[in-house]
């Protein structure tokens, strides 16, 4: 079916991004906004805004029934969930389908599979992707058995977790029993699923992920990979495409593995297959599948020249992907920095408030995705992402220099931001030499 009006079940910069894609696709759009976001940029730009509830996400953006009722009541034929909130909710995907709405994302079955990290691991192994040694744990004694077999440190992960949540590093056997008990309780509380699995800890790991896209007509392609190793507490801060310092055969093997997995699980629409790459050995291992548009999608758009959100809408409407694998070409290097309203001086406490000034510079090769402007309010209810600055240059050095220039020239007043931290990362010699692993920021850069 072809789409006419899209309900945007999200807020902030990604809602603005989806509005733009709807415009590009010639579609009307309705933004579902909480009371706190009624005056937000996406709400202002959309054809219509519908107030879906009070500010807390649990009473607005996270309510499946409300989102579906709002989409139906405002005459939409599709729901775009963005990222976060209900973007990886199999329940929303199937509720939408039951009510004749198109969910802009993969089918509910694929979301369910990817959401169960143990099933996803098994599916990856079945598609002959390398997975880190690991398995489900029956109880604390089983965890000790795993530790004896594989040694410490090890990772305890929640089967229902993902996206960096529900992960515990256990450094030695003294910590194991407590960590197991705490992780089980946390997993039950956070994900409603107490199951844990253990994985061998890869000490020097890089985070590399492959963008895939699949349509209803049998086409499954990749759009290259991204490196997202600059992380704090498993949350990404700086991302780039292509991944630097990667042997060509590794790069090709990663891309092929991602396509193989997407094909084997019947994946549709846009998705990302995440891997950890052992910086010491060059081996890579499947981590998880993300069933949504990623925050860091613009770096891929920059180097491939493709509009991924537009592609999502077209594929959701039943059209084939607008390009074949052979037509995916890569141009230059792109780096994204996530500007957040957080105070690095106060252990990254969120710093909500009113922006008395927000003016990103206009530079050739710079793209800024944001919902912020002079006078905008960063509400305290949601995550603290303010803007993504994406620099595209001929090579990594040029992109880094452009991004540094942009961060320097950015005018922002009224809230504390992580700008200095971002600039510090980009100017660091370790970043220049691409010697970054996922623990680098916390262990080297912030500690220093």
């Amino acid at each position: 079916m072809s789409l006419a009006r899209v309900f945007i079940a999200n807020r902030g910069e990604i809602a603005v991004r989806i509005v733009a894609a709807c415009r590009a696709a010639g579609l009307e759009c309705v933004v579902g906004a909480s009371q706190a976001d009624l005056d937000g940029l996406a709400a202002r730009q959309a054809d219509r805004v519908v107030c879906i509830g009070p500010p807390p996400a649990s009473e607005s953006y996270l309510r499946v029934e409300t989102i579906v009722a709002a989409a139906l009541g405002s005459g939409c034929d599709a729901i775009h969930p963005g990222y976060g909130f209900l973007s990886e909710s199999a329940r929303l995907a199937s509720a939408a389908r039951e009510h004749g709405l198109v969910f802009v994302g993969p089918p509910a079955e694929a979301i369910e599979l990817a959401g169960d990290k143990l099933r996803a691991r098994a599916a990856a192994a079945a598609a002959e992707l390398p997975v880190v040694e690991g398995r489900e744990l029956a109880d604390a004694a089983d965890a000790r058995r795993f530790a004896r077999e594989h040694g410490h440190p090890l990772m305890l992960k929640a089967a229902g977790g993902g996206g960096g949540r529900g992960i515990k590093l256990v450094r030695d056997s003294d910590e194991l029993d407590t960590a197991y008990a705490v992780a089980t309780a946390e997993a039950l509380a956070a994900f409603g699923d107490p199951r844990l699995y253990a994985e061998r800890f890869v000490a020097a790991a890089r985070h590399v992920e492959v963008q895939v896209a699949a349509d209803e007509h049998g086409s499954v392609v990749h759009l290259g990979e991204r490196d997202c190793s600059v992380q704090r507490r498993y949350q990404k801060l700086v991302e780039e495409a292509p991944a630097p310092a990667l042997a060509q055969d590794t790069r090709e093997a990663l891309r092929a593995a991602a396509v193989r997995l997407a094909r084997s699980i019947g994946y549709r629409n846009l998705g990302t297959v995440e891997f950890i790459l052992d910086a010491a050995t060059g081996s890579f291992y499947f981590l998880e599948v993300n069933c949504r548009i990623q925050v860091e999608h613009p770096v891929t758009e920059a180097v491939t020249g493709r509009d991924l959100v537009l592609e999502q809408l077209e594929v959701a409407g039943g059209r084939p992907l607008s390009f074949a694998q052979e037509e995916v070409a890569f141009d230059g290097h792109a780096i994204e920095a996530r500007l957040t309203a957080e105070d690095p001086e106060r252990s990254f406490m969120p710093s909500p408030g009113r922006l008395t000034r927000f003016a990103p510079p206009q530079l050739a090769g710079l793209r800024v995705d944001t919902h912020c402007h002079d006078g905008a309010v960063i509400p305290p209810y949601y995550d603290s992402l303010m803007a993504k600055l994406i620099a595209h240059g001929d090579d990594r050095e040029a992109a880094t220099a452009l991004l540094l220039e942009a961060l320097e020239a950015l005018e922002v007043e009224g809230v504390q931001t992580n700008r200095a931290l971002l600039a510090g990362v980009l100017a660091h010699p370790d970043f220049a030499s691409a010697a970054i692993t996922t623990r680098w920021l916390e262990e080297e850069a912030i500690a220093a």
């Binding site: 009371q35 009624l38 005056d39 709400a43 202002r44 219509r48 805004v49 519908v50 107030c51 879906i52 509830g53 009070p54 009473e59 607005s60 029934e65 409300t66 579906v68 009722a69 709002a70 009541g73 405002s74 509720a95 009113r354 309010v377």
Partner: protein
């Protein structure tokens, strides 16, 4: 419990202060005021206020009084959903203009995906206006009825 005068006093203080936005929450009461509400998107229609502010009490708070206006008190939608004035199609509406309501009088239903939620008036008075159309989508905070409070 706040009186109408208390609310007017709060609005007066906000008007005088250089505040752009104010959120007050105490047990059983929440007030969210956004300055410049008139420039906000058309839906939900901000309720007319004395001065330059628009304010709405959050009906999510269990004992929240409805929002007073010059004309009366507005009963707002406590959730997004489909607005039904009667128990079933063709049945007599819960209330019509002129009906007397008590705080626990059910004034309408809001359906959210087959779940029927009955909405109590939360104030005592007389219905003077029905602001939403039967079977239409109402948004969170949208005015549903205006109630004239007993004078004196």
């Amino acid at each position: 419990m706040l009186s109408d005068d208390d609310v007017r006093e709060i609005l007066r203080l906000i008007d005088e202060a250089a505040l752009a936005e104010l959120q007050i929450e105490t047990e059983g009461f929440s007030l969210h005021v956004l300055r410049g509400g008139a420039s906000a998107p058309p839906q939900p229609a901000p309720v007319a206020r004395p001065g330059a502010s628009a304010a709405q009490t959050s009906p999510a708070a269990p004992a929240a009084p409805a929002a007073p206006t010059r004309e009366g008190t507005v009963i707002e939608a406590p959730m997004l959903g489909t607005f039904y004035r009667a128990e079933a199609p063709g049945a007599t509406p819960f209330v019509e203009v002129g009906a007397r309501v008590e705080p626990d009088t059910i004034v309408c239903l809001i359906e959210v995906m087959k779940m029927m939620n009955s909405v109590p008036a939360r104030v005592a008075g007389t219905i003077v206006e029905v602001c939403a159309e039967n079977a239409a989508l109402v948004e969170y905070g949208q005015p549903l009825f205006v109630v004239q409070l007993p004078s004196g």
